[in-house]
């Protein structure tokens, strides 16, 4: 799941990890009550500093996406639909932000993008 963590990106690693989990939870890829890997397991698996994983988990816990139960581990929380929707929107905005930035640096217009979108998704232009 964390194959696309990019240490070279200006986005801190812990933010990337937290975001990936956030999206997975919001889209239902990871269902509530799923146990998350321990800090030790995840750090070793994706080969990042354990402190980074700790920070990511802490952020997610603060935002109410996950919860740690004493002795049992860390689990995905049940999120109410409004919360999930807001997470989905957040991710969508993030994608669009990147697209807009790149498109403007290449001087592509909204029309160019619309056309390309319709092409990709198979809609009739």
């Amino acid at each position: 799941m964390f194959r696309h963590i990019d240490p070279r990106s200006p986005i801190p690693l812990y933010v990337q990890i937290a975001n990936r989990l956030r999206v997975a939870v919001a889209t239902g890829e990871v269902v509530p009550a799923t146990p998350l890997p321990s800090v030790r397991q995840l750090a070793a698996e994706i080969r990042v500093n354990p402190a980074t994983v700790v920070q990511a988990y802490r952020e997610l816990e603060r935002d109410g996406i996950i919860e740690s139960r004493h002795g049992a581990g860390t689990f995905v929380r049940e999120l109410a639909e409004p919360k999930r929707a807001s997470e989905r929107q957040r991710e969508a905005r993030r994608l669009v932000r990147a697209l807009v930035a790149q498109a403007s640096s290449l001087a592509l217009t909204r029309e160019d993008l619309d056309h390309a979108w319709k092409n990709e998704t198979g809609e009739r232009p």
Partner: protein, 298 residues
């Protein structure tokens, strides 16, 4: 509780003309994963050898795990796992014999953990060290130092020359160990991308001098490449640290450290136009830092 696992003050070493370590003052915090970066020939291996008492400095002081080098060296080494640049184990021993030999010298050597790692790394006990591949030898080194359960790990290019699969296994085992306790890791490497994932502190050595030492996030966030139009020709005090300036056909590119977004105003005040601000990854940042350290900017 000691604050710094490794601390040197103005360490100097000059074995002869043409090479010199000068005024090296390292501070490695307890529990940090500290990446020691530098081009070949900068003196990384020499620094490590000085830290572990394999060489004697000509000046300065060295303290490791709160103890003086070389006065309390055996006690320091008892709590330190060292992987040197070149393999140093006895080639005529088998893997099992090498583990038995190594473990006999360390109090608290975890034989069960050693066995678990041996199986995890897929190393045959009867294999002679001389017959091991580079990757297997690398894994054995890691096995031995981790089974010591040390307080400090000093690794000199531990994954150099290893194929990506072995490198992954080695890093995973290392990070797994780090998550279990408060061990400090001092790892020197020129594989910048690897360090980028796992280190939280960075020290940069160039031509025998410590050029930078700071937390990873500060290094990465603070260093930027700025493209300017109408750049100021005379520079007084800058709110940031100017690392380098380069004139290209279209514009001037400045590399700065300690950048804050509000500093755009300084450029505007100087009549310049900021066209682009680019984040540098660790490798680029490292290259720019070296460039800045080597050429004086006026």
């Amino acid at each position: 509780m000691i604050a710094h696992a490794i601390e040197t003050h103005d360490m100097c070493y000059r074995p002869g003309p043409g090479f010199e370590l000068r005024d090296v003052s390292l501070k490695v915090r307890q529990g940090a994963i500290y990446g020691f970066l530098g081009p070949n020939g900068a003196g990384k291996t020499t620094t490590i050898q000085l830290l572990l008492g394999l060489l004697r400095p000509q000046g300065g002081s060295i303290s490791v795990l709160g103890r003086q080098v070389p006065r309390e060296l055996p006690r320091i080494l008892g709590a330190t796992g060292y992987i040197p640049e070149r393999p140093h184990l006895y080639p005529f021993l088998t893997v099992a014999q090498a583990i038995r030999f190594h473990g006999a010298f360390y109090r608290g050597f975890d034989w069960a953990y050693a066995e678990e790692l041996r199986r995890g790394f897929d190393l045959r006990g009867e294999a002679k060290l001389a017959r091991l591949s580079k990757g297997e030898m690398g894994k054995l080194h890691v096995l031995l130092v981790l089974a010591q359960r040390p307080e400090l790990l000093v690794l000199d290019e531990p994954t150099d020359g290893l194929d990506p699969v072995v490198r992954r296994d080695v890093l995973s085992a290392l990070l797994d160990f780090c998550s279990q306790g408060a061990a400090t890791v001092f790892i020197s490497s020129h594989l910048v991308h690897e360090l980028e994932r796992i280190c939280d502190w960075i020290g940069v050595l160039d031509r025998g001098r410590l050029v930078a030492e700071l937390p990873m996030h500060a290094f990465k966030n603070g260093i930027k490449r700025i493209r300017l139009d109408h750049p100021p020709s005379l520079i007084g005090d800058t709110p940031f640290l100017l690392v380098s300036r380069q004139q290209s056909a279209l514009d001037q590119v400045w590399v700065v450290r300690g950048w804050q977004p509000t500093m755009v105003q300084w450029f505007q005040g100087a009549g310049a136009e900021v066209k682009e601000i680019v984040d540098l990854d660790l490798e680029e940042g490292f290259v720019e830092l070296l460039r800045g350290a080597r050429t004086p900017t006026s």
